[in-house]
């Protein structure tokens, strides 16, 4: 905290620019450290070596090209959903429905990608992606409309719609779009040849979806930072009444933000299906949409930080396998660390701690 004290010594310097990193970077990092320490204590208590465990975790997630590409691939849907949640949050609402929006995106993608043989591959791919984008958006628009029109709580309606989407996918793969072949888990018809996203690097899992996700990240940053649309979303998110009084059609802005939020999750669904799963399987991404909430939170809803945060959570996921294999630790321990990190982030974003951090920065002066 040495730099905070030195800042206090020069209180006349405007430091609005410096306040952002402290809140958005330092606190998440601190919460990761706290979670890692707490995790280490638990690993110790269980009779394992925490250093070995963490080394294996790092090895498994970013140890070599293969592992790293696996991590990045896992990060793609997390990033897309996380960006969507962050964007909805900027407009003043919690979108807990990324799971359902992603499922609807996946469903729309397979409906288009598994049909219409004869279309040129690139066009077919584009149409399937677009279908996923629109389907995810519409699925998010429903709870947004309910909120605008009937003031229903979007947290509850988005969660409930997750189940509707999950069961709809279950129904579809068990019936209307069931694949003819083998038994086992019900799966849909396959993506037609030539419609799958091309690989970016041969021999890896990196596919076109990564480009979509990174573009979305940059575009979102640009929109929120430099455009009047971003400012409109921000104003509505922070004070809807004042926005209305200033002549902004707050409901419309909110609906648009929620549509785009769902679209990004829908895109994540397309990335999963067209990126590497190649067919729609019942329960194809059961937790991605929920993990993405933590991704958005840890990233403090800032696009580039959401990117880092997606990489972190993806690393935990891929590293868990290696930890189990190398350090002989139960993979559930990684889940534990992940949850501890989320809890630490939540604690760090609590008003009381934010207030405390502000005080350390000497920012509570009134003018």
């Amino acid at each position: 905290m040495a730099e905070d004290i030195s800042q206090n010594l020069a209180p006349l310097k405007p430091k609005a620019r410096f306040s952002l990193p402290i809140a958005n970077v330092a606190m998440p990092l601190l919460s990761i450290v706290v979670a890692a320490l707490a995790g280490a204590v638990i690993i110790l208590l269980m009779g394992y070596d925490p250093l070995k465990a963490y080394a294996a975790l790092a090895q498994g997630s970013f140890g070599n090209l293969m592992q790293t590409s696996e991590t990045v691939k896992t990060a793609v849907p997390l990033l897309l959903c996380g960006l969507g949640i962050a964007f909805a949050f900027q407009s003043g609402a919690f979108n807990i429905g990324a799971v359902g929006q992603m499922y609807m995106g996946g469903l729309a993608a397979i409906l288009v990608a598994g049909q219409f043989a004869g279309l040129p591959g690139w066009l077919h791919m584009l149409l399937a992606t677009l279908a996923a984008f629109v389907a995810g958006g519409l699925w998010a628009l429903l709870p947004a409309f309910l909120k605008v029109r009937y003031a229903s709580n979007e947290i509850i309606s988005t969660i409930l719609l997750n189940y509707v989407a999950i069961y709809l996918v279950d129904y579809m793969v068990a019936g209307p779009i069931k694949s003819g072949g083998y038994g086992g888990a019900p799966t849909s018809w396959p993506v037609l040849a030539g419609v799958m996203y091309p690989k970016l690097v041969p021999q890896t899992q990196l596919h076109l979806g990564l480009i979509f996700a990174l573009s979305a990240m940059v575009i979102l940053f640009f929109v929120m930072r430099y455009t009047t649309l971003g400012q409109r979303v921000r104003i509505v998110g922070q004070n809807r009444v004042a926005a209305t009084h200033a002549g902004i059609r707050a409901d419309r802005v909110f609906l648009l933000a929620f549509f785009l939020s769902g679209s990004l999750a829908g895109l994540a669904g397309a990335a999963e299906i067209l990126g590497y799963q190649a067919r729609l399987i019942s329960g194809f991404a059961p937790s991605t949409g929920y993990d993405a909430i933590a991704v958005a939170l840890l990233g403090g809803h800032a696009p580039f930080l959401v990117g880092l945060s997606a990489l972190f959570f993806a690393g935990l996921q891929t590293g868990a396998v290696a930890m189990e294999a190398i350090a002989k630790l139960p993979a559930q321990l990684v889940d534990l660390i992940r949850v501890l990190a989320i809890l630490a982030v939540l604690a760090a974003s609590s008003p009381r701690i934010v207030e405390f951090a502000r005080k350390l920065q000497g920012e509570d002066r009134k003018w």
Partner: protein, 457 residues
């Protein structure tokens, strides 16, 4: 408390003239502020004692200490020359102290009688004894002219009647010292007149009254003695007959005040904005307009008086297009603008200063620049083809800050960090610089010091 021991007892000894309530060096601190700074005060039995001061002078805080809603940090409270330990309002009530708050503490869905006996024990505890209570309450209600059936739901009564219910409630609980916190703030003039009569009546019955107010005229009208507070300190106590309105104003503000407002005679011109038989729907507690006619001419200041909640909000909403107009016409420069979006009304020169700057006027988390351009950030030159022009916005904000004397270190600072007065100036600057044709100002001087208020005038 037993209901039988309450109501207006004949006084066992003459209380008049003796000190019934004494405060010695009361100190009450809140984080960052001393609300009561060594306040000593003697209230005589049977008098009407006014506590006068500006908003935030510490009047209500002092009385909340007496009533047990706040705990004092230092000092002593004596009731009938006995040290009193008042920790909760029940302690105060047991000592015969009652308080009627500015915001009534009544249950709207309960009847008058249910509200009055709420929380009291009867001889038939745990059962109610409505029959016995009824008689006593009826006597009080008739005595004080509560023109409402005791079985009526309180929510359906007028504000004036509700206030009487509160007073009767306090008396029924045995109050001999009654604190009235800004009792006229919510009343229309006729109701206030009735209240003053009721205060006379109570004084005649030997009740001691403490009357908190910041209105000079009514204080002079009803009180026997007046204590003036300023910034947490007790300035002086005067006999009402030996003081004047000018003297009180000076004591209150701490400097000589010119109470008259200099105004140039205006030369009203053509009609700019006209409301014809405008009716709005009742919506979320906002009282609707019913066939309102109003014409605003150029160059005139049209004052709208009325107690809060009598349609001012709906009027602003109708003019700004924030709510649908159910009937009638809103005519601006000869054209019915009922269907026009708020944004377009603003760009055509109808500006407004919202009533509540925090909820309606400002986005506190955003910068001063953003708030100064809240209505126009998308217009050229501040927004160009969807892109925000930061340099132009910032320069514009800096100019407005200088012109309107908004005190902040730079235009990038969060509006949240400005004082209330400076926040209000941000709204003023925002709505005045485009040189609007019509400006609707809801309580525009709220939270401004006298200097800033005169700037608006």
């Amino acid at each position: 408390m037993n209901a039988q021991t309450s109501t207006l007892r004949p006084t066992p000894h003459s209380e008049t003239g003796d000190v019934i309530l004494e405060l010695r060096n009361i100190v009450k601190r809140f984080p960052g502020i001393v609300a009561n700074d060594h306040v000593s005060l003697k209230i005589r039995a049977g008098e009407v004692h006014a506590l006068l001061g500006e908003n935030g002078a510490g009047k209500s805080t002092l009385m909340k200490v007496v009533y047990g809603l706040y705990q004092k940090d230092e000092g002593e409270v004596l009731v009938r020359n006995q040290p009193a330990h008042i920790r909760v309002p029940q302690d105060a009530m047991a000592l015969g102290i009652g308080m009627v708050h500015q915001h009534f503490m009544l249950v709207p869905n309960f009847t008058v009688i249910e509200n009055i006996i709420l929380g009291l024990r009867t001889d038939r505890y745990p059962l109610l004894d409505l029959g016995k209570s009824l008689e006593r309450i009826k006597t009080l209600a008739d005595d004080f002219g509560l023109n409402a059936p005791l079985s009526a739901k309180v929510g359906g009564l007028t504000v004036g009647q509700q206030q009487k219910v509160e007073i009767i409630k306090a008396l029924y609980r045995g109050a001999r010292i009654l604190i009235l916190d800004e009792p006229t703030a919510v009343l229309i003039p006729q109701e206030a007149e009735e209240l003053f009569k009721l205060i006379e009546h109570l004084r005649a019955d030997g009740v001691t009254l403490i009357f908190i107010s910041h209105k000079l005229k009514e204080v002079l009208r009803v009180s026997d003695r007046i204590t003036v507070m300023r910034r947490g300190q007790l300035i002086d106590t005067r006999d009402t007959t030996a003081t004047t309105i000018v003297e009180l104003a000076e004591l209150m503000v701490g400097k000589a005040v010119d109470l008259s407002v200099a105004k140039r005679p205006s030369t009203p011109g053509e009609n700019h904005l006209e409301l014809r038989r405008v009716t709005t729907r009742a919506d979320q507690g906002v009282r609707p307009l019913q066939e309102l006619d109003l014409a605003l001419r150029s160059g005139e200041i049209h004052g709208l008086a009325g107690v809060d909640g009598n349609g001012q909000q709906a009027l602003v909403q109708a003019i700004m297009g924030l709510c649908p107009v159910a009937g009638g016409q809103v005519i601006f420069h000869g054209r019915d603008i009922r269907a026009m979006e708020t944004a377009e009304r603003i760009s055509r020169g109808i500006e407004h200063i919202p009533e509540n700057r925090h909820t309606e006027g400002l986005v506190l988390g955003l910068s001063v620049t953003d708030n100064l351009l809240l209505e126009r950030f998308e217009h050229r030159p501040f927004g160009d083809r969807g892109l925000r022009q930061f340099k132009i916005m910032r320069a514009h904000a800096a100019t407005l800050m200088q012109k309107f004397d908004i005190r902040a270190p730079n235009p990038d600072i969060q509006t949240l960090k400005l004082s209330g007065g400076n926040q209000q100036k941000v709204i003023l600057a925002r709505s005045l610089w485009p040189d609007p044709t019509v400006l609707i100002a809801m309580q525009p001087t709220r939270g401004l010091d006298v200097g800033a208020a005169s700037f608006i005038q």
